[in-house]
């Protein structure tokens, strides 16, 4: 494989990695405020794409309007999930809440099938234009959109955490929910906002990637595993580490496919297994993540 070929795999890795980073941020935000892994996170990604297609093709909105509508609608669904299902489990025990999110995931995927059918659905690129060529590697315009949106989302999230009262309250909840509540922070509202924000980030990834890959009602689980792998690779609960984890996972995945394809033909059928293998390895060898110190659980 020549340099241009490797560069092409790096571009693909960074593109997928940005998507994983967005989903990983969703996991991290919800985990930080609830101590729960939201197994429905992948469905927000699916809904972003599906609602984008619905707004564009069925409602006939211009693409520039259909995309934000899909993202905001998914954020509302995220908030609704929290209000309808998560909030009602008052004791906040993680295990039942995890099982609830597993149920929510199945429910959202099935509902998407009832509403939008089980076909692969397409969306045109956000802006037309030929691919750029950088050092022999082709970069599609939509890939630039994905990178731009990811950077914008991370920047907005950083501003939110650093400069707003909501962000301050969310950080307080991250450190100690009970103490935050006693300081007069409306923790129920924070949890709801976390779900809405996580859904929004997932939807941005889902709608941005649809012009390249199309979308379907059942893609949520696959992306949830990859996003979670990214989140745990960085260290669960730390937003910047989640982004780093996403990019690392995307690169590892893409470069292993490159390495495998030179060794064995047709090995790309197992490409979905790479991210899962990374997930299991990190879980077993370094569950606290690559960039975070381990802490001991106390009684």
């Amino acid at each position: 494989v020549d340099t241009a070929g490797i560069l092409q795999f790096v571009v693909a890795g960074l593109k997928n990695g940005s998507i994983y980073a967005l989903v990983a941020l969703g996991f991290t935000i919800v985990y930080a405020s609830t101590n729960v892994i939201n197994f429905a996170q992948g469905e927000f990604y699916m809904l972003g794409g599906m609602l984008g297609v619905f707004a564009f093709s069925s409602l006939g909105l211009p693409l520039g309007l259909a995309v934000p509508v899909a993202v905001v609608a998914t954020a509302c669904i995220g908030a609704l999930v929290e209000i309808l299902f998560v909030r009602r489990r008052k004791d906040g025990e993680p295990m039942p809440l995890i099982i609830i999110t597993v149920g929510v995931s199945m429910l959202l995927a099935s509902q998407a099938r009832h509403w939008f059918g089980s076909d692969e659905l397409p969306l045109p690129p956000f802006t037309p234009g030929a691919s750029l060529s950088v050092g022999g590697a082709a970069i599609e315009v939509q890939t630039l959109w994905i990178w731009g949106l990811t950077i914008a989302a991370v920047a907005a999230l950083t501003l939110l955490y650093d400069r707003t009262r909501l962000g301050l309250a969310m950080r307080a909840c991250m450190q100690n929910r009970e103490a935050a509540r006693l300081m007069g922070i409306d923790t129920a509202w924070i949890v709801m906002m976390s779900f809405a924000l996580a859904a929004m980030l997932g939807a941005i990834g889902g709608v941005a990637v649809t012009p390249l890959t199309q979308t379907r009602f059942d893609i949520g689980t696959g992306i949830a595993i990859k996003g979670f792998a990214a989140a745990i690779l960085g260290g669960l609960g730390n937003p910047l580490a989640a982004v780093a984890g996403g990019l690392v996972l995307g690169l590892v995945e893409s470069l292993s496919i490159a390495a495998l394809s030179t060794v064995a033909q047709g090995s790309s059928t197992y490409k979905d297994a790479i991210a899962i293998a990374v997930l299991l390895l990190v879980l077993f060898l370094r569950p606290q993540g690559l960039f975070v110190r381990a802490t001991k659980e106390k009684v």
């Binding site: 729960v36 892994i37 197994f39 299902f85 009602r88 489990r89 993680p94 295990m95 039942p96 809440l97 995890i98 099982i99 609830i100 597993v102 149920g103 929510v104 995931s105 199945m106 429910l107 995927a109 099935s110 509902q111 009832h114 689980t221 696959g222 595993i225 979670f228 792998a229 745990i232 059928t269 197992y270 979905d272 297994a273 899962i276 293998a277 997930l279 299991l280 879980l283 077993f284 569950p287 659980e297 009684v299």
Partner: protein
């Protein structure tokens, strides 16, 4: 040393009556389709008995049990197609599933609950990729066909009645096994883990070891169910071993109620029969059943969520409450009359 109390005797009698009742089913049920559904209920029960041990008693969530069913199914089918006798092939399938369980359990049961759930989910997905792609062993996305039926020497089990009895015999064995694990020392250790893992450790319970044992037993039972299914249906396809199936099994256990084998049995029968309601309850139209089949994922999802929100003790909890109310109601007019014979 200790005389069996009245409830133990009652339970044993109920169990024997239950077995007798099940054994009579093929004589009463003439409809072959219905008998087939009831056989599938039995296969689900074998999985759920093991999962009930893991989830209901040890409080551990597995989102990958369909993969163990798949390992048992493909393992046994592949070996029996290669000429192995049925019993040997099934045993090997069970052993493979147990080995897979051990391999997954050893590293992941050291993890906290949500990591374990994710590890089992990842394991399930990776096994699905394997089932779907390893054409030399699993037949890839086409699956395996013409799997030989169960056989003992020259005698083949091919009739619906024979398969019903065979599967339900294994249901009885599985339930008995799980019941015994629950009643003895491992079961007490499990309940301690469910209560407080750190507390149990402090009291000298080797929690990791207990959890690994239970996980392996539940994986082996799932493998057994898979092997039974492979030889009964005669063909396999990867679509039977998805995350969806794993969540279905989890829903059955959750609806049954943690810590109750009987509740899990009731929930499994109920949920497995639901999409076939038209062939059980007279007067229910085919359309209703069709709708239930189309909306099956939604129904399972809502059941799972509702149980977690409103019925944390599951059907068993409802049963206990009803029984307690009934006892109160019976005892009231006879207050001071009969008294409890101790």
């Amino acid at each position: 040393m200790h005389r069996p109390d009245r409830s133990t005797v009652l339970r044993a009698a109920a169990a024997i009556a239950g077995v007798a009742l099940v054994a009579c089913v093929p004589f009463v049920v003439q409809d072959r389709y219905l008998l087939r559904i009831l056989t599938l209920v039995g296969i689900n029960l074998v999985v759920v008995s093991g999962l009930s041990l893991l989830f209901g008693y040890a409080g551990q969530v597995s989102l990958g049990h369909a993969a163990f069913v798949g390992i048992g199914a493909y393992g046994s089918a592949y070996l029996s197609k290669a000429g192995w006798p049925w019993l040997l092939a099934v045993s090997a399938g069970v052993a493979l599933a147990a080995a897979g369980g051990l391999l997954l359990a050893m590293p992941s049961l050291r993890l906290k609950g949500h990591y374990l759930a994710m590890a089992t989910l990842g394991f399930g997905e990776i096994m699905f990729v394997f089932f779907d792609n390893a054409e030399a062993i699993t037949g890839g996305s086409d699956g395996l066909q013409q799997i030989p039926p169960a056989s003992f020497g020259p005698f083949q089990v091919t009739t619906p009645e024979g398969n019903f009895w065979l599967v339900w015999a294994f249901v009885c064995v599985s339930l008995l096994l799980v019941h015994n694990v629950v009643r003895r020392r491992p079961g007490r250790a499990l309940r301690a883990i469910h209560g407080s893992e750190m507390g149990a450790t402090a009291c000298g319970v080797d929690t990791v070891r207990a959890k690994i044992e239970v996980f392996v037993v539940s994986a082996a039972l799932a493998g057994l169910a898979g092997a039974l299914m492979a030889h009964y249906i005669g063909s396999l396809s990867p679509a039977s071993f998805t995350l969806h199936r794993s969540v279905v099994f989890l829903t059955m256990v959750a609806l049954g109620g943690s810590g109750s084998l009987f509740g899990s049995v009731a929930a499994t029968v109920l949920l497995t029969l639901l999409p076939y309601v038209d062939s059980i309850v007279p007067g229910v139209s085919r359309q209703v059943a069709g709708f239930l089949q189309d909306w099956e994922p939604d129904i399972y999802a809502l059941v799972l969520i509702s149980v977690m929100l409103f019925l944390p003790r599951g059907l068993a909890g409802v049963g206990r409450t009803v029984a307690a109310r009934a006892r109160e109601w019976v005892a009231r007019p006879a207050a001071g009359g009969e008294g409890s014979a101790t």
